[in-house]
């Protein structure tokens, strides 16, 4: 069954792993996303290595480093695993790299990015590639990543 390619060990484990499901006290950004079909609400928190203050993430220069990344909220295994992968992946990256990774991830789910070298950069988040074949669950997989475009 195709379901086995989506609900893999790595995804179910990530969904239960609450290491990065926590509040960052000094976070500069708390980016919220809602999936209206299931009601899942997720907030991604970013702590940046900068003294500047920016009105939105879009204004932050590419070279600023993300020193910590976490997520809050509850949801289905796919949205939780996706948020956990995101938090793990973005910690220590620059904002510019985060933007590229977001585009690669969204491209993977859309099916438009298939280049293995590009996908490898997503590390564990590649495990969600199978969601591309499940239209009903695409919103769950992309919820956390879309918050980076706010």
């Amino acid at each position: 069954m195709s379901i086995n390619s989506v609900y893999t060990q790595i995804i179910t484990d990530a969904a239960r792993d609450k290491t990065n499901r926590r509040e960052i006290p000094g976070a500069q950004f708390t980016l919220s996303g809602v999936n209206p079909s299931c009601g899942d609400e997720i907030a991604v928190q970013l702590e940046l290595d900068t003294q500047e203050s920016y009105a939105s993430l879009a204004e932050v220069p590419d070279d600023v480093v993300i020193t910590d990344c976490s997520y809050l909220g509850q949801g289905c295994a796919i949205s939780q695993a996706s948020a956990a992968f995101l938090a793990e992946l973005l910690t220590g990256k620059t904002v510019g790299q985060a933007r590229e990774l977001r585009d690669t991830f969204l491209g993977m789910i859309k099916g438009s990015v298939t280049d293995e070298e590009a996908l490898d950069k997503l590390e564990d988040a590649q495990a969600l590639a199978g969601v591309a074949k499940m239209p009903a669950r695409v919103k769950c997989a992309t919820l956390a990543w879309h918050t980076l475009s706010e």
Binding site: Y7, G39, Q74, A77, I78
Partner: protein
């Protein structure tokens, strides 16, 4: 039961027969309805109410026959039946045209709805009161029984209430609302009663005269009819007072450069070319229900529903959203699976051909109020095609799904 009447039940998913438990969202359609749509599309394909030629006359006849069929079905007068797209459009029509009439009475200042209402009977009212100072009040139900306490009805519906609008059956909880009690209280303070019968009309008789509701709505597609055709019933004297909702062709008496006079009800509410094939399909769905008979439908569905709830209660990892209803449920049961999000469960159940609804069921305020895990539930709802073999398949799939989604359980 009547499975053979519904071609969709012959479909499979991964070699499993389709087990359809989402009739609360939309029902399957019997061959008779599908044939009626095709027949009408071929033989009566013309614009109704306009043409002089025979084909158009037949289209008009079909459409007006359908109106009569629906009127008889709910014990209304023919001119009291307005065709819309669905219950949502019917409710929007009411929410846009009724309040301006009722709130001319300056003693009126509020609208009352149960917290359990579907967004279709929630958002239109919320939007209306946002644009003025009126109050939208909610009747809160008991979380164990789903019942609205009498004290709640007494406290919320008062002399200032202009409208009491509610579903006959909650699309999430499956509980019957106290139609008579709410209607009596509403009428005692001079409020208008609107019934949303979308969730009940495929299962129980809607008799608008016996219930004495002022307006009622339902959708064709939840009662074995086609998509895109719905019904608005209203007492004639009330409909006469309400202004048109959409305007345009077919709903006018005359139009000059500066003035339009409207057709009488029901036509003043039916602007533009109407859905003749939809009406033909809906009329056939009415005949289908009448042929089965509500008594037989209730007897068979209630037996399946009882078996379903008993089997669900046996599963240690399942919690029913309303554990102890005081009145038997109506064809809908919501439940949760321990530690498993309803969307994950529904995805895996689908692999076994089992179609259930998962999420917030277009009733976000209710799910927030109930405070269930994940603020979402699984929902199984029944139609006349479901039998105990469907229930057995659902229960089997639920066990497999739970095992699958919790198999890698690591300590958190």
């Amino acid at each position: 039961m009547n499975r053979q009447d519904f071609p969709t039940t012959a479909l499979t998913e991964n070699d499993y027969p389709i087990r359809y438990f989402d009739s609360g969202a939309t029902s399957l359609r019997p061959s008779a309805v599908l044939s009626a749509i095709e027949r009408s599309s071929i033989h009566n394909n013309a614009n109704p109410h306009r043409g002089i030629y025979t084909l158009s006359v037949r289209a008009t006849q079909e459409y007006e026959d359908a109106r009569r069929t629906v009127a008889e079905f709910i014990n209304a007068e023919t001119e009291e039946i307005i065709f819309t797209r669905n219950a949502t459009e019917s409710l929007n029509l009411i929410a846009f045209t009724l309040p301006p009439v009722l709130f001319q009475d300056k003693t009126k200042n509020n609208i009352v709805i149960p917290i359990s209402e579907h967004h279709s009977n929630f958002v239109p009212w919320q939007r209306f009161v946002k644009s003025n100072g009126y109050e939208l009040r909610f009747l809160y139900c008991d979380k164990q029984t789903g019942d609205i306490p009498d004290s709640e009805i007494e406290a919320k519906i008062d002399e200032g209430t202009a409208i009491v609008s509610f579903a006959t059956v909650s699309n999430v909880l499956g509980v019957h609302l106290p139609v008579e009690k709410l209607t009596q209280k509403a009428h005692s303070v001079g409020a208008v009663v609107i019934l949303d019968a979308a969730q009940s009309v495929a299962h129980e008789q809607l008799d608008v005269k016996a219930l004495d509701c002022d307006l009622a709505v339902f959708s064709g597609h939840k009662m074995y009819g086609p998509f895109g055709i719905g019904v608005l019933y209203g007492k004639k004297e009330l409909l006469d007072k309400m202004p048109p909702f959409l305007t345009g062709g077919d709903m006018i008496d005359d139009v000059t450069e500066t003035l339009t006079t409207y057709s009488p009800v029901p036509y003043k509410f039916e602007a533009g070319t109407q859905n003749v094939t939809g009406a033909a399909g809906l009329a056939e769905a009415v005949r289908y229900i009448k042929n089965l008979g509500y008594d037989a439908i209730a007897e068979e569905e209630n037996a399946v529903l009882q078996y379903l709830t008993e089997e669900l209660e046996k599963l240690p990892f399942v919690t029913l959203t309303i554990p102890s209803p005081t009145v038997p449920r109506a064809s809908v049961v919501s439940f949760s699976m321990d530690d498993v999000h309803p969307h994950d469960a529904a995805t895996v159940l689908s692999e076994y051909g089992v179609c259930v609804r998962a999420g917030k069921h277009c009733a976000h305020p209710l799910l927030d109020y109930l405070g269930v895990p994940f603020r979402a539930t699984l929902r199984a709802s029944l139609g006349v095609y479901n039998d105990t073999s469907d229930v057995d398949a659902l229960i089997h799939a639920l066990k497999e799904t739970y095992a699958f989604l919790t198999k890698t359980s690591k300590p958190v």
